[in-house]
């Protein structure tokens, strides 16, 4: 199972152990964990509500992992995205990549989280003392994803 969308929390150590157990050629394991911040600009964040499009979100994440595997020849990968209500400092998302060497694992991990931000149908709503706001795609995230298509892409072969 490479993709999970779930309400409950995840255990990074358990996920690492599961990935290590898959293949003995793995020489590098890289992960990213996204957390709920307690601020956005000057606004205090009390909690987030995360929604997704069941059926499409799993498909979009699998597609992103397929692209990463094809491009970097990963040995294994894993994405977990939580949905529901999350409080500051809680874990939202986990991305892990396993490869023979670190350069590939680093690049692929960054590629996956960059594309998740622009291609996977999830929505965050911020709850603040002044009300609720649905967040939208940030230009910086669009630009980060786009640079993987440019000639100056970080390549690690």
């Amino acid at each position: 199972m490479r993709v999970s969308i779930q309400q409950h929390d995840f255990d990074v150590a358990a996920e690492f152990a599961a990935l290590r157990a898959k293949q003995r050629q793995i020489g590098a394991l890289v992960s990213f964990v996204g957390l709920v911040r307690d601020f956005n600009g000057d606004e205090q964040i009390q909690k987030l509500t995360l929604e997704h499009y069941p059926g499409m979100s799993e498909k979009a994440l699998s597609n992103i992992l397929d692209q990463a595997h094809a491009r970097w020849g990963l040995l294994a990968s894993r994405v977990i995205h939580r949905v529901g209500t999350l409080l500051p400092s809680e874990q939202i998302v986990f991305v892990a990549t396993a490869a023979t060497h670190r350069a590939v694992a680093f690049a692929a991990c960054e590629f996956i989280i960059d594309y998740l931000k622009t291609d996977a149908p999830f929505w965050k709503k911020e709850h603040t003392p002044h009300g609720e706001t649905w967040l939208e795609t940030k230009t910086i995230d669009v630009n980060r994803a786009a640079r993987w298509q440019s000639s100056e892409e970080p390549t690690c072969r």
């Binding site: 929604e51 149908p121 999830f122 929505w123």
Partner: protein, 84 residues
């Protein structure tokens, strides 16, 4: 033409609807036509379903405004995504 419509994010909340089976006129052949037809519902619909405020998917794939819609398609309408 029967189309399953799903709403997520801001439109889902502001339009107070998550899913519906809509009987769309056959004259609506593209996603842009469908949205124009939905905007005729007025009020929030006019305000929410504006290019730049929404993105759409047809049968779980992101779609452009000129994409064709067909009988029994699943069309999702949502605010720009913000996961991760």
């Amino acid at each position: 033409m029967k189309i399953l419509l799903l709403y997520f994010g801001r439109p889902g909340e502001n339009l107070k609807i998550k899913r519906e089976f809509a009987d769309v006129p056959d004259s609506a052949t593209t996603l842009a036509d469908l949205l124009a037809w939905l905007r005729l519902r007025g009020d929030n619909w006019e305000h929410e379903l504006i290019d730049g405020r929404i993105r759409c998917a047809i049968n779980k794939e992101f779609a452009v405004w000129s994409a064709k819609i067909n009988e029994r398609d699943e069309v999702a309408i949502f605010s720009p995504i913000s996961g991760g």
